[in-house]
């Protein structure tokens, strides 16, 4: 009995140690607080933003910051830039969470199966991963988005019509989640596979096999909880990439549908008038930089806290 009860206490105190290490990392902690506030803004943006993101005012276009009641001025359609920045936070964070979830689910399942069965199957599955890994993820995301966005929506039938309907309800976000998820699981699959390989030979899995548990039970009830921590930390390091992917997609016109405010789309719109109206670009660029930096610091902080060996 002593032995079985020992392992949970050890892992609990290990976690507590890790959180204490994280809390002592001032940069990571303040970034975490910043993101927390950003999440609150994203959730309650309907009450916080002075105006709706699509509200146009043709008598008040291209106002400079502080003019009339507009904190950050207005854009070429007279839309309040401050409100659009706040709504943009909602877009960026939604993409961060949903794309991370999609890539997590695909990657971990793939890695679990490859690592558990091993042998020829594992070899082929990993070869496929290597091939996908050869091309930058952003290029793959672009390719898939080209596919999603091609064609005339009026002619869509069946599943594609339903998908398009949902996608346009979400302002184009659904295809972005799926596009990023379908391409970004590769790294997660590698990590999950490596963890599974090392866990598979442990006694508790052998005990499960002897007891006659089915493979799905072993994979998702027994192995999965044990690699959860490593995979969450690895995923949190990748979140800045997802935010950047969404911004770049929106920048090149494959992202959110106008007038949904994405920071990338705002940079693209502001580029035209950069000489006279720098605030139109400065605002989204700053918001994006701060958010990506904060996610980076939190991700690095988590990694260092949970695996002090990795610290250089």
């Amino acid at each position: 009995m002593i032995e079985t009860s020992a392992s949970p206490t050890i892992s609990k105190s290990l976690n507590r140690l890790a959180f204490r290490r994280f809390a002592r990392n001032r940069l990571a902690l303040s970034s975490f607080l910043f993101l927390l506030i950003l999440f609150l803004v994203a959730i309650f943006v309907d009450w916080l933003a002075p105006r709706h993101f699509a509200e146009e005012d043709f008598l008040a276009t291209y106002l400079q910051p502080g003019e009339e009641e507009f904190l950050l001025g207005t854009d070429f359609l007279g839309r309040d830039v401050w409100s659009r920045i706040l709504y943009g936070a909602r877009i960026s964070l939604t993409v961060a969470i949903c794309a991370a979830l999609a890539s997590f689910i695909i990657g971990v399942s793939y890695g679990l199966v490859a690592g558990y069965y091993g042998g020829k199957l594992d070899e082929w599955m990993m070869r496929f991963v290597d091939i996908l890994n050869a091309v930058p993820t952003l290029l793959f995301v672009i390719l898939i988005m080209v596919y999603f966005r091609a064609g005339n929506p009026d002619e869509f039938t069946g599943f594609k019509a339903i998908f398009y309907e949902w996608d346009s309800q979400l302002g184009g976000l659904l295809s972005i989640f799926i596009g990023i998820g379908l391409t970004s699981w590769v790294r997660m699959a590698r990590i999950a596979r490596a963890e599974t390989l090392s866990l598979r030979r442990r006694e508790f899995i052998e005990a499960d096999l002897v007891q006659g548990f089915g493979v799905p039970t072993i994979l998702f009830r027994r192995l999965f909880p044990n690699l959860l921590g490593t995979c969450i930390v690895a995923e949190s390091v990748a979140i800045p990439d997802y935010i950047i992917f969404e911004s770049v997609l929106s920048f090149i016109g494959l992202g959110v549908n106008p007038p949904v405010p994405s920071w990338g789309a705002m940079i693209s719109e502001g580029l035209e008038g950069i000489r006279s109206y720098p605030h139109l670009i400065l605002a989204p660029a700053t918001a994006m930089t701060l958010t990506v930096l904060a996610f980076n610091f939190v991700g690095d902080g988590l990694r260092d806290a949970f695996d002090p060996k990795l610290q250089d």
Binding site: V135, P136, L139, V146, A150, P240, I252, I274, P278, D312
Partner: protein, 305 residues
């Protein structure tokens, strides 16, 4: 070594083929064809045209034909511009992108390497903190945000440099910075940690014991051995450069391949999208293979794996 070479080149070619098939299938699955016009053609004429271009053949045969043509330098013709073979477009625009990528890379090495060495030499002292901060900022700020900020600060506020185009030398400075700062950051970060590891080795202690100057210990004995791990990120750096040129060329209105890739996406010019995509895949796989071979040549232990 020969065995390693053959295996590596073979798997590179296979990767490229799989990527080509993926792109081919995705683009074939898109609705709409090259002969769709406002006034629809009579079906028998359409069938004749398709037969002429081999579009009535089964998919795998079309793919084999595409690959065969691609190997001979024929990547098809643009849908959106009159009389423009994709290969001509690449020949026209690739040199500009290569030039931009080369400058960015050069800046990354010339700035990142010394910074990393300096940080390692002054471990846990002020230069180290400054270098680490720069590296963190450089790797985290997306160039989509960095490029406009550089334009605003150096181009419009200080008025030192032109803010767009790719003509005189001073117009090339800001795009190079926008693309190169990230590379400098990655290289300095890796050089630093690699140097810190090498410095603890016995042969460095020997070099110091021989009474060599600190500059020769760090610059010759340590750096030479620390460079090997830095070599491995050349592949990822190329990937970063490719995706970076898309954004940077678009922002600075540089007539390179990256900005045209974006244009052809919004024009739905699929042969061009596919041609450029294949070229990118080819460049990256080639680079990765070269780096692997170079690495195996420099470190014989790798060959045995």
């Amino acid at each position: 070594m020969l065995n390693f070479l053959v295996r590596r080149l073979g798997s590179g070619a296979l990767s490229l083929l799989v990527i080509a098939a993926l792109v081919f299938l995705l683009l074939k699955a898109l609705p709409g064809g090259p002969f769709d016009t406002e006034k629809s053609l009579p079906p028998e004429i359409l069938r004749n045209i398709e037969a002429y271009y081999g579009l009535d053949k089964p998919l795998w045969e079309q793919f084999v034909r595409y690959v065969g043509n691609a190997l001979q330098g024929d990547l098809g013709v643009s849908y959106s511009q009159r009389d423009l073979p994709v290969i001509d477009l690449i020949v026209q625009r690739l040199p500009i992108s290569l030039e931009l990528g080369f400058y960015a890379m050069l800046f990354g090495i010339l700035f990142g390497l010394p910074l990393g060495v300096l940080a390692a030499a002054y471990h846990n002292k002020l230069p180290d903190y400054v270098a680490t901060l720069l590296a963190v900022l450089g790797t985290s700020i997306p160039n989509l945000a960095l490029a406009p900020m550089l334009i605003l600060f150096f181009g419009l506020f200080l008025k030192w440099l032109p803010i767009a185009r790719w003509t005189t030398w001073d117009s090339k400075v800001l795009p190079t910075l926008a693309l190169g700062l990230g590379i400098a950051a990655v290289i300095s970060r890796l050089t630093r940690s690699s140097m810190l590891q090498v410095i603890q080795e016995d042969f460095i202690r020997t070099a110091r014991a021989k009474g060599l100057s600190e500059i020769s210990v760090l610059g010759q004995h340590a750096l030479r051995n620390a460079l090997l791990p830095v070599l491995t990120i050349m592949g990822p750096i190329l990937a970063y450069l490719l995706t970076g040129t898309l954004v940077v060329e678009e922002i600075f209105a540089i007539p390179g391949l990256g900005s045209y890739f974006i244009t052809s996406i919004s024009n739905r010019d699929y042969p061009v999208v596919m041609g450029i995509y294949l070229l990118y895949g080819f460049l990256i796989i080639l680079m990765n293979t070269l780096v692997d071979i170079l690495y195996a040549w420099a470190d014989p232990r790798i060959r045995l794996e």
